[in-house]
Structures are given as C-alpha cells and as structure tokens.
Assembly symmetry: C2
DNA sequence: TTCCGTGCAAACAATTTGCAATAGA
DNA sequence: TCTATTGCAAATTGTTTGCACGGAA
C-alpha cells in the first residue's frame, strides 16, 4: 500500500530506507524501535500524539516503551524526519517532516482539522515585514471550534 | 462550551469594581485572593503565566497559593474577565479578556512578541468559509523565531 | 569490542482535585 | 448562617532523565 519512491525531505511519504540513510548520515543507529515509530508515522499519515504513536508502534515492536518513542521523535526531528506540532492544551503532536500542513484543533472535541494551504502565507509575510518575527507555520496548531461543534 | 459573555467590557480596562460586578452577576464571591489576581493582571497588562501571576498577586495577598490562582483564572475565564493563551511548549498564559492581541512566542528565547492586529483577520475568514472551522485568534500563540534570535 | 539506544523507574513540570478550615453574602 | 472559596497536600498528566543492560556497527 505504500507508494514507492519519494524525493528527499519535502516528500510526504518517508520510505524506511531513506529514513535509515538520514539516520546514518547523522551518525545515528537504525534500530527496530526506530523503524517501528517510522512505520507508525507513515501508516498514520497525519499528526498524532505520543501515546497513540506508541500504541501504533507497538504493532511493529511490541515491547517499545513510550519514553523510547519520545526519544525517537526527538532524534527524528533533529535528523529532519519528523517535526513537532504544539497543540492547544493537549499533548503535543508529531508528524513526518514532509507534512507542513497547518492544522487547527477544536477546543471542544479535540478534532484535528487541516487548514487549507496558502491562507497562512500572507500572515507569515505580514508579520515578518512588520516585526522581523519569522513565523514557522508547521510547528503550531490553530485553536477554535470545528464546524461540527460550532452548531 | 462556555457561553460567550456580552462583550460590553472587552474594549476598556478592567477596573476592579467592574470585575467584582461581573463576578457577582455570575453568583461568584468577590474575595481578596481574586482581587489580588485581578490587580496583578491589570498591573502587568500583557500575557503572563501562572507562576509569575502568582508572584505578582502575592504583593497584594501574600498567602495566596498557586492552586488558587489557577482556580481564579478559570473562574475569570468563565465570567469573561480573562482568557487563556496557549503558548508553544511552555506553560499557558493568561491575560485580561479585553486584550485579544495575537502574540508570537520565540522558540529560541521564549520572548513574547505582539503581532500587529489585522494580520490574522483574513486567515480567520478564509478558514471559516473554506472549512467551517472558527478560529479563535486570542486563544493561541504563533511560534517561530524572533527578530533578535533570527540573526 | 565499542558505545549508542533501550527499558524501566523515578524525576519533573504544569495543572487539577479532595478535604477540612475559613470567610463572603 | 450557609456554602463558595481557600490552603495544603496529594493526585494527574505529559515529558524527560539516570542507570545498567543489550544490541548495532
């Protein structure tokens, strides 16, 4: 089911072999727990929190510990495989680095909705030219009320 | 979830007497610890985390406990006196309800920069018409790198 | 063989909650 | 009075870290 091939880091699908190369290129080892986390991220495809990610990774590597998942995600972020998304009050989220989709978290039901691309670009430019602050839209989530809960 | 209180007060400064009225109108008592938190918020003027807010409130009410500050902030939010701002990885912030200024938190130094008003309005409209998701710009912070750290 | 990475437990940080004592209306 | 509110300590939740063992290179 996993589509073959992907270009470097800006592609959405991270094939395990490419990620393994990225790890080795940074002097990190390729281990079963790390591959399990990677597969879980690929399988899920979107933004996911550490607990759910651990549960999914355990399908591939049953004994994997949540602390290991946290450490793995940190390494993945340093190596450029994955990145963090800070959501509102809940736990922070993880996703593959290729996925820079801005998301919005519903304050009532916690649902994660993708935000159409492009809407943010102008904001980023405006803020940078006005204040010099460089917004990184992939690293935080918007908050509000989703269409369902708004009613 | 919580009904949005009439915005009659949003555009002015919160004087202690007005806040006291808002509390009584909701059947809440006006206590010294609550007034201390209110004064600390007014004195500070911006967004502040619970620990710093407690420290400032202790100038007015020395014995006030941090748990009380958390509970007070929750009541203030329900009554419409204050609101939460969820910042990146750090603790969440509080401010007076009239202050709906969007802020950006630097991922390197943690500095909180105000974002010029209006920059977000288009984003809010775009996202709502495209997805029905209603973004609440006052309740989260943008993340990125501030002008100083960008160099 | 060499260390890096892992599991585990324990530490930590932010926040919430149970309970008895206190103080506002 | 009567009960919301407080202080305190303890529980929760999300995340990080110290340590000894096991496995990748």
């Amino acid at each position: 089911m996993q589509p073959k091939v992907a270009n470097a880091f800006d592609q959405r699908d991270w094939m395990p072999e490419e990620a393994a190369e990225a790890l080795r290129a940074h002097g990190c080892r390729v281990t079963l727990p790390r591959l399990a986390v990677l597969r879980a991220l690929i399988e899920h495809g979107g933004t996911i929190d550490a607990t759910q990610l651990t549960a999914r990774a355990q399908c591939y590597e049953p004994g994997i510990h949540e602390a290991t998942v946290y450490r793995t995600v940190k390494v993945f972020a340093e190596v450029g495989i994955a990145s963090h998304v800070h959501a509102g009050h809940g736990p922070s989220l993880v996703r593959l680095a290729g996925n820079q989709q801005l998301v919005a978290v519903c304050r009532d039901c916690g649902a994660i909705s993708p935000v159409p691309g492009g809407a943010v670009d102008q904001l980023v430019l405006d803020v940078e030219s006005a204040t010099g602050f460089v917004i990184e839209p992939g690293h935080f989530a918007l908050e509000g009320v989703c269409a369902t809960c708004a009613r």
